[in-house]
Subunit: 303 residues, 3 copies
Amino acid sequence: MKTKHLLSIKDLSVNEIKNILSDANDFLNKKSIQNKILKKIKGKNIINLFFEDSTRTLTSFELAGKKLGASIINMAVATSAIKKGESLIDTAMTLNAMNPDILIVRHNMSGVPYLLSEKVNCSVINAGDGSNEHPTQALLDALTILRHKKKISGLEVAIMGDVLHSRVARSNIYLLNKLNAKVRVICPPTLLPAGIEKMNVKVFKNIREGLRNVDIIMVLRIQKERMEGSFVPSEKEFFKFWGLDREKLNKAKKNALVMHPGPINRGIEIDSDVADDIGRSLILEQVKLGVAVRMSVINKLIN
Amino acid sequence: MKTKHLLSIKDLSVNEIKNILSDANDFLNKKSIQNKILKKIKGKNIINLFFEDSTRTLTSFELAGKKLGASIINMAVATSAIKKGESLIDTAMTLNAMNPDILIVRHNMSGVPYLLSEKVNCSVINAGDGSNEHPTQALLDALTILRHKKKISGLEVAIMGDVLHSRVARSNIYLLNKLNAKVRVICPPTLLPAGIEKMNVKVFKNIREGLRNVDIIMVLRIQKERMEGSFVPSEKEFFKFWGLDREKLNKAKKNALVMHPGPINRGIEIDSDVADDIGRSLILEQVKLGVAVRMSVINKLIN
Amino acid sequence: MKTKHLLSIKDLSVNEIKNILSDANDFLNKKSIQNKILKKIKGKNIINLFFEDSTRTLTSFELAGKKLGASIINMAVATSAIKKGESLIDTAMTLNAMNPDILIVRHNMSGVPYLLSEKVNCSVINAGDGSNEHPTQALLDALTILRHKKKISGLEVAIMGDVLHSRVARSNIYLLNKLNAKVRVICPPTLLPAGIEKMNVKVFKNIREGLRNVDIIMVLRIQKERMEGSFVPSEKEFFKFWGLDREKLNKAKKNALVMHPGPINRGIEIDSDVADDIGRSLILEQVKLGVAVRMSVINKLIN
C-alpha cells in the first residue's frame, strides 16, 4: 500500500481496496495462509490500544493477528496509565518506543488515530474513532456484498438509521462511492449530519420511499444513550418509524440483503424477524468476513 | 468422543472418562505432548467466554490451551457487548461466526453452556454453570484420586459443606457414581438440595458420623455471601460445626485424603492445619492436574 | 545466575549485572534472538501477577516474553481470587501448582515478591514492590546510560524528587554504587528517607547545588496522591522548587542527560521543554531498552 497506515477509507485508491478484498477472500482458504504468510509475520508484534470497550472488533483483530502468527498485546488503557494522568500522546510514544509493528487504535474522539500516526514510527490502524471513520468495517462490508452480489458497482445501497453519530456510515459512504455503488441514506431529520449531500448520497426522510428498489440495506446501530432527549422520542417510537421490519423490507428489491455492524438492538433499529432471516440477513457473515479482511489489512501493513 | 461438547458429566461414558484421564496422565510427561499433539493443534483457536470472575479456572484453561499450541483469546464479557445490551445468544453467535474451534463458557446461570452449544458450530466446554455442573473439575478430582489411591471403584468418598449451591458437588456425584465409588454427602440441613437421595448418595447430617471410615473428603467452598441470612448463622458457627479440622479428620480412615476445589476459606470450611498438611491435603495437586485434564479435554474436542 | 530469582539489585554480583546488560544489548539485534534463544524458550510459561495497575511495565514484560517465544498469561488479580478472599500466598501457591517457569510480580507492599519466592518452585521476578525495589528498571537505566556514556564508573548521577516513596530510586542507588558511579540524591526534606546517608549517596536539599556538574539526572515520578497534605504543598509549588526545567538543567554538565521511569507528570516533576528535548532526554530510549533488558533477565532465569 502507498500509505503505511489505515486511517481513513479516503486514503485508499480503488486498486488498493480491490487488493485488500481479494487477499481477504484468499484468507478464507486456510491453506494459503499457512504457506505464504506465516513465515513473514511470525514474531511481529501488534498492540491493540482500545480506549473504548468492544467485544467484536477487539476479538476480530486479535483473531486476525493470531491466525497470521503475530503476537498480540491487548492494552486495557482506560484502567492504566491514562488513569495515572499520562497524556494520550505520551502513552502512544511509550508504546512506540517498545517497537511494535502495528498499533490498532479505537478511541471515542474523532481524529485520535491520525494524531497518533503522526507521532509514532509503526503502522496505525483505525479501529473506529468517534463518529469519524471505521475503515475495516467498511472493507468487510464491501467483501460481504461482493461475495453475495458478485459486484458492487451499480448496486443501490441504503444506509439507514443514526447516520449523524455513525463512523460506520461515513466509511461506507466513502468506500461505496469509490466502488461506484449508488448510495442513499435514510434517516430521521434529527440524526442527519449537516452537509451530507456533498458526500454524493441521496437523502431520504421517508423510509418506505428510501427503501424502494434497493439491493442492500445497511442498518446502523443506535446507541441507547441517544434514546433519551433531543434525538429520538423513545425506543418504541424509533422502532415504529425507523426500525427495519418485514413490512418495510418488502419495499426493497425481492432479493435485497440486510446488513448491520452489530451488536444489534433487537426491536429498536431492527426486528428479530429480519435480523434472523438467514435468506436475507448477512449479519453473521459480516462478522466472519471481518476476520479475513483484518488479516488482509494487517498483512499489507506489515509487509 | 461421541459428543462434540463437554457440558455435563452425565453425557460421558465410563470409557470416555477413562480415556480422558489416561490422556491427562500422559500429558504430565512433557515429551509426549510436543511430539504427538502440537502439530494438530497449532493454529486452532479457543475463546474463553467467562461471565464470572475466576483466577484458577481461567488460567488453567489458558495454560492448557497454550501448552497444546492453540491460540487463546480471553473475552472480558462483563465489561463489553453485554453491557451494550446485546443478548447472550447474539454474543455467542457473533463469536461463533469468527470460527473458533472451542468456546469455553462459565456463567452464573445453570444451563447457559448447553443453550450456547445448541446455537454454535464449534465445541463448547462447560467451565462451570450456576449451581449445575463443572465437569472438568470432577475429571481433575478423579485423576487426583486415581494417582493417589490407584483406583476409584469401591472408595468411600465424602463430599461435605454447601452442597446446595455447588456445581462441583453435582459433577463429582455423577462422576464418582459412574466410576463406582460410594458417595456420601455431609451437609447442614439448610444447605441440602431437595431430592439429593435420588442421586445415589448417602446423606449425613452429623459430620463425625459422616466422616467415619471414608477414604476421600471433598470439602466444598462456601461463598461468603451465604454466611449472612438464612443459610448459615456466622463464619465462626459454620467452622465450629462444619469446618474440617484435625479432630474431625481423625474420624476418617487413617490415610484419608482431603480435597478442595479452591479457593479455600481458611478457618471457615477448612482449618489451615488440615489444608496445609502435605501428607493429607491434595489441594495443590488438584490444581496441577487440572491443567493436564483440561489439555486432555481440549485435545479430544479438537480432534 | 547464582540466584533463581530477581528480587533485588542487592542480590546481583557486578559480573551478573554486566552479563545481563551485555545480553540485553545483543537482544537489540534481532537476528541473534531468533537463532540462539527461541528453541530453548518455546513452550515456557510466564505468568504476570500484577496487583497494581501498570501499562508500561506489564506491556514491556509481555513483549519481552513473547519476543523470546514464551507464553505469557496476564492475571488480573485485583478483580479475581483476591476479591473472593483468598490470601496472597494461596494465590501464589495455586499458580505455582500450575507449574509456570516464571512468576513476574508487582505489588504495592514491599517484600511481597520475596515472600512469594520462598513459597514457590518457579523463578520470581520483582516488577516493583511497594517503595522497596524495581530491579529491572535499574538495569534498564544502567543499559541506557552505558549506551550513551560508554561507561558508568565515575559518572556523577543525581536522583531527584520523591526519593522517599521511590522503589526506582532504591534499586538505582544499589546498582549505580555497584558499578562505581557517584550517586547523589536531591530531595525536599519531607521526601527524604531516614538513614539514606548510609546508602553511600550524597544528599542535597538545594536543587541547583545538587545538579552542579552531574552527568545524569534521574527525575523521579511523584504520585499525585502525595500532592495533598504533609509531603508537598501543591503541584505548582513542587514544580517551581523541585521540577526540572531548562534553567535548573543548565546547572548540570553541558552534555548531561535526563532520565525518568515514566509515566511523566508534565509541569510537575519535569517540564515538557526538557522531557521532549531529544538531545537531552533519554525517556523513550529507556522504554525501548526496557524490553531488551527484560528479555535478558527472562532468558537468564529460564536457563
